[in-house]
Amino acid sequence: MSDTQQNRYMNGNSPSWCPGCSYFTVLSALTECFDERGIDPNEICVISGIGCSSRLPLFLNTHGMHTLHGRPLPVAIGSRLARPDIPVIVATGDGDLLSIGAAHFVHAARKNFDITVICLDNRLYAMTKNQTSPTSPIGYKGSLTPYGKLSAPLNTTELAISSGASMVCRSCAYDKAHLKKMIDAAMNHRGFSLVDVIAPCRTFGDHEKEITKRLYDLQTKDHKFDDRESAMRAAARVYDSDSDENAGIPVGVVWKRDDMLCFDDQVKLVLTENEGKYSSINDILDEFRPGRGNVTQ
């Protein structure tokens, strides 16, 4: 913990997570990544929603917005449109991103905004004290589902790829070196990138111990991340370990394309096309003088 507190990206506010929480690793991986990239804290913005994961920007001294439950992506889009020179990281969780904020996730991914989303997936609601989340396994017992979760988990990786995200990677909070590599790669990517981080909850989750052994890196398995079929095949395996105790959990870059339209670039094109069309409001008003035929509909 001491290394995160001394880091020049930390604001001195001590994180409000439970001792030993996997999120500390994500926080330190992120700030170390900033440090290695030499980012000025005034030139990056971290935006979050609500939940344990979303407390993250409150510990940083970068630009930070702790917004509403499920709504970090709309705010991130507004800040990207307003200040395209300032990169945006969204720190969110499985409840924030995939339950209440699912519509925003699908559309931000589809539009391929140049935003890096780090989803701290603990597969449950921790801040409200243990309820099932969209990614909880079948049968998971939360306080609102005492007889077990009645539905299958949402596959974040598949959803991101099919929504149109141009980069989707997976990592685990227990492998900091790999996590740093993934965050760095996602920040390098122009377009919507998701880092889906397996980050178990120490207080309510009881299924984290086996995880590290089961991880396998797709990059060591000759995975073709720019091929849609390979990517979807790898994505389909992420919850295999829920039902099969011998199955592994894929991490690494699942999907990445550099040839997809990025919204930010498209906006630039529209602005360039329109540059100088009108020099003042009076130019527009001239079009609305009687007899000029500027018409409705």
């Binding site: 604001n11 709309p74 705010v75 800040s79 307003a82 329109n274 003088r289 009687p290």
Partner: protein
């Protein structure tokens, strides 16, 4: 020709009613533009269903040489019914003036008619059948009826053929059917030029005034409420606009999407209204002026972010083009039923500023004001308009893009939360010191803090900054006392003198589009010697108590005119003052016409007189015995 007196004030109204798909809105738009191009003050009020096909549409076009002519009226000089169904609908209303003639036409089994109501109280009404059969294309393309009607109107009113035809082709330049429209226009023109024409012309003393035309004034533009807001926003430096399609606010976005990129900004179509206002908050975080516009259900979805902006002291400009609710309600119909929702909607207590525009000019200038206030007071500013004003298209004085009433934008931020510099979007990046905001209760540096002391200090800070709004600024309300004497300064001699001054018969308060119609009604009543004091507030919240109390100097009877069921402004006045106003309400989806307001207000005055006469009689009786 002798029926035309070129010195008399001239106002001509044409009502066109038809089924959706008949080109009714198109006809209204084209006729209004034609009249404006002839140098007349013109307006068109639209009424249409929320569907693309089906239902009845109507347009009321007003043409006048008087720029204060109301765009709404209970009567019209000419009525065109483009189908049997629309004629029947007309017969059931009193919105046409020549009701008898309409009913005649229905009884005679006529399906489509043009009716000269005689205008201005003349009994000499006529009607004739619109013979769409003369133009075979109309069978397959009912929207061609609009050109036919413009043809008939041009013939009756003596509008130069090429002027009206030019307007039609200009409107259609990007679409097909140009040749068919021209043919339809000419057929309509020809059909009216035959035997019916001389009688129609002679009967309407205004008809030929349009033929001669007037010079088009240099400072005139044709705008509607929605476009005026979009123009105001760009003038105020708005660079990010985010919205989701919703009637009747969508045209603001259409305009922004077209013009904003030329100014280095962008109009973003979000996946829902929550996302739209979220993007607005994200842009303002970096001090880039941003706006969203919505209506009804969209406003409901935005409530949580309105609270967020209040809590984080993030500016936001939200335009609510009100429509009749609750729920989906009547999406294209007029209403003023969101006042309480924009002031109090959402959980918790957050400070907001609520403005309401009543004219196209105010739509433009109050939007600029909204941006200044948002940036200065660092809270959401909601500008209310309504469907009638948003869609009302009229020729008006060119607005002033450099308008700034209070110079709010040049003052320093008021607190640490607000400490950001200004920046220009999409251009050279400006350095901004990194800062954090959170919707949690927080200390002045933006760090979560829910201790009691901090809560009290922060809540007080967020609310007390609103005291600095200059409520007396004349642009934020109009107190119109006509020829009544203003109250005397308080002194020991003035009380009796004040007593001896003539009192008003009634005080009237109105807001939004209804305020514009109330002005017209009041000016008619004053012409008849009725004394009225009026207050038209444009800053509706924070509530400026003093303005309302001032009315009590003129008369204790205060009426509030507004388009909703519960009398929302009246309720707000009861909450904040000792005034117990009389509510004058309408909630059928159509705005008040000046005639209706006049009748309501006269009714109140007469009833009050009746009651006071009765009590005087009783008192006299008691004294004698």
């Amino acid at each position: 020709m002798d029926a035309t007196n070129n010195d008399a004030p001239f106002t001509l109204r044409v009502l066109i009613v038809g089924e959706a798909g008949d080109g009714v809105l198109s006809a209204g738009d084209t006729f209004m533009r034609t009249a404006a191009a002839s140098g007349f003050h013109s307006s068109v009020h639209n009424c249409f269903p929320p569907t693309i096909r089906g239902g009845i549409c109507s347009v009321l076009v007003t043409v006048s040489d008087d720029d204060s002519a109301a765009p709404l009226s209970t009567s019209a000089d000419f009525v065109f019914a483009l189908s049997r169904a629309s004629l029947v609908v007309l017969g059931g209303t009193d919105c046409a003036g020549g009701v008898d003639r309409v009913n005649d036409a229905i009884n005679r089994g006529t399906d489509i008619s043009a009716i000269n109501t005689g205008g201005d109280g003349s009994d000499d009404t006529q009607s004739f059948k619109l013979d769409f059969g003369l133009c075979p294309h109309i069978n397959t393309h009912p929207q061609l009826k609009s050109s036919f009607v413009i043809g008939v109107l041009s013939a009756i009113l003596g509008i130069p053929e090429n002027l009206a035809l030019g307007m039609i082709t200009e409107k259609l330049k990007s679409k097909n059917l140009t040749a068919q429209n021209e043919e339809s226009f000419k057929t309509g023109f020809g059909s009216a030029s035959s035997d019916i024409l001389p009688a129609l012309r002679a009967a309407n003393r205004h008809a030929l005034r349009l033929a001669s035309g007037r010079p088009v004034s240099e400072d005139q533009v044709i705008l509607d409420g929605n476009r005026a807001i979009a123009l105001g926003a760009i003038s105020a430096g708005c660079r990010i606009y985010a919205s989701y399609p919703i009637s009747p606010a969508t045209p603001i976005g259409t305009f922004m999407a077209t013009y904003l990129p030329a100014f280095g900004g962008f109009a973003y179509q979000a996946e829902d209204e929550i996302s739209a206002i979220g993007a607005v908050a994200g842009a303002w975080f970096f001090d880039i002026p941003a706006m969203t516009a919505t209506s009804g259900p969209g406003l409901s979805l935005m409530q949580e972010f309105l609270g967020y902006c209040s809590m984080t002291e993030t500016p936001a400009v939200i335009v609510d083009v009100q429509r009749a609710g609750p729920s989906t309600g009547m999406p294209t119909k007029h209403s003023q039923d969101d006042l309480m929702a924009v002031i109090f909607g959402g959980h918790g207590e957050g400070q907001r500023i609520v403005l309401a525009a009543s004219t196209i000019d105010e739509c433009f200038h109050l939007t600029i004001e909204a941006f200044y206030m948002a940036r200065h007071f660092r809270c959401p500013v909601i500008l209310l308009t309504d469907g009638a004003l948003g869609n009302l298209q009229m020729s008006c004085k060119r607005p002033d893009p450099s308008f700034n009433i209070n110079g709010y934008h040049i003052t320093q931020p008021q607190n640490e939360d607000a400490a950001v510099s200004t920046a220009t979007p999409q251009t050279a990046p400006t350095h901004i010191e990194a800062r954090r905001v959170t919707g949690l209760e927080h200390d002045p540096k933006g760090m979560p803090n829910d201790t009691s002391n901090n809560r009290v200090r922060q809540q007080y800070k967020r609310f007390s900054k609103m005291d600095k709004i200059d409520g007396n600024c004349s642009y934020l309300q109009t107190l119109d006392i006509g020829d009544l004497k203003p109250p005397l300064p308080k002194s020991r001699f003035s009380a009796r003198l004040q007593e001896s001054l003539p009192k008003a018969d009634l005080c009237v308060i109105s807001w939004g589009f209804d305020a514009a119609m109330t002005r017209v009604a009041v000016s008619e009543m004053r012409k008849r010697g009725i004394k009225i004091a009026c207050l038209y507030p444009r800053l509706l919240f924070p509530f400026v108590n003093g303005h309302y109390m001032e009315l009590l100097n003129f008369c204790p009877r205060i009426a509030v005119v507004e388009s909703n069921y519960t009398g929302q402004l009246a309720a707000l006045i009861r909450m904040n003052t000792e005034i117990n106003p009389i509510s004058v309400k309408k909630y059928n989806g159509e705005p008040f016409t000046p005639e209706e307001i006049e009748a309501e207000l006269c009714g109140i005055i007469n009833m009050e007189k009746f009651i006071s006469d009765m009590s005087e009689t009783n008192n006299d009786g008691a004294a004698k015995t």
